[in-house]
Symmetry: none
């Protein structure tokens, strides 16, 4: 007969859902390596074949990726499905950058507000860790680490909102913008004055969230984006000037 009755819960489904939840909620981040199958199986209280079936499910959804002998890693289909198409579009239509910044102003303002309202102590701990790491990267002037810790910081805020969409979107959009900036502008000049301002802005966001002041957190986040928007506009103007002076390079 046709299979239409209610399904008995399958272990592999439950395990897949459990891992999926960890990924969605951020305790397993993109790029992270999963524990070895043998350990994970014990931790989850299932046999290794069952765990493997669950992993196959996630793999077929593109959420994880395994290499024999190497380990199993979290990919991120979630963000890429939403925003891969946007990447080339951003390159083709620079006007989108302004839209993106406007959108981020709303998104991160809301994220900061909710984070200040809802963060658990564990969230705040993680947030502070990310904040410290970011400051260290800024001080060291390590551009690569600056970018990644910046993402971590925003992601920590996103996770503290306890809204999966906010968490993934804010990090994804920041990443999208960083890539786009790098692709189209090269590295932004690191003017000491700007660095100092950025650090102050991040500190204001961090403090407001930790002290649980939602409206202050929102305001600080919006100020931050406004500053980024303005700096970016200036860089673009000078880049355009330079470009015009040097050479004619048409890209659209």
């Amino acid at each position: 007969m046709a299979p239409n009755k209610v399904q008995v819960p399958r272990i592999s489904d439950a395990v897949a859902a459990s891992l999926e939840r960890r990924i969605l909620e951020g305790s397993l981040k993109p790029g992270d390596r999963l524990p070895p199958e043998r350990e994970l199986a014990i931790e989850l209280g299932v046999s290794r074949p069952s765990l493997r079936e669950a992993i196959q499910k996630l793999a077929s959804k593109g959420m994880v990726q395994s290499r024999q002998g190497g380990g199993t890693y979290v990919t991120d289909r979630l963000e890429s499905t939403f925003f891969d198409p946007w990447q080339d579009m951003m390159g083709a239509h620079p006007g989108l950058r302004e839209d993106l910044l406007e959108f981020r102003r709303m998104l991160e303002g809301q994220a900061a507000e909710w984070a200040a309202e809802r963060a658990t102590d564990a969230d705040l701990t993680r947030l502070t860790q990310a904040f410290d790491a970011m400051n260290a990267a800024f001080d060291a002037n390590d551009l690569e680490r600056r970018a990644s810790t910046d993402i971590d910081f925003h992601q920590a805020i996103g996770e503290a909102t306890h809204n999966v969409l906010i968490g993934h979107l804010s990090a994804a959009l920041l990443r999208l913008m960083q890539d786009n900036i790098r692709l189209n502008l090269g590295e932004l000049k690191s003017i000491p004055a700007a660095i100092s301002l950025l650090k102050n802005q991040h500190a204001a966001i961090h403090t407001a969230i930790v002290e649980r002041k939602p409206s202050a957190a929102r305001a600080a986040a919006e100020t931050h984006i406004d500053f980024v928007r303005e700096s970016l506009a200036q860089s673009l103007r000078s880049a355009a000037r330079r470009e015009t002076a040097e050479r004619r390079l048409n890209a659209d």
Copy 2:
């Protein structure tokens, strides 16, 4: 290191591909029952665990469906393999629905506000057309048209914001939610009272935008989402009640 080398072929992948081919080529038609795992494993020259991993892959793609003791069947609705990763995730984690609604409340509130501020006359014309079409679909109680015109209406608002991200996201998220509701709840009951309320809410949004009252537009949009959220919660409660009465099904 990052997983970027070429993958060694996995047996379960090959087996999954083989079965998939049989299904796509028609030698396994929708509704057909697969041979027992033990036989199929021998026939394909692999062990049962490997075969099972392959079956899990197909199951997660929605191509087959297994019932303990009953057998494994080729899904008869192959067309619905249009799924996107978020869709089944919403099914697996109902909590996401609440996150999505909360996110939409922010998004559509902002969209309505911006639309009221920025809409051109052409935008307003298109918005009014979409609004009329939606009302007609609601009056005719044509569920299919109701869903599509609803999306059109929200998309028209999104376009009126002149922010590409808002426009695409609000329509995409609405579509995602509609599909999810249809998949997991069946059609929502069309209570005349609710229909009337929905029409009023849409009218309030439309009017506020046309009359260029940003804060009123935001408020109307937020009220709308709040109503949807509440209606959905009620439907879910009654669905849960029904389910509990019928059978005990634990999925966590």
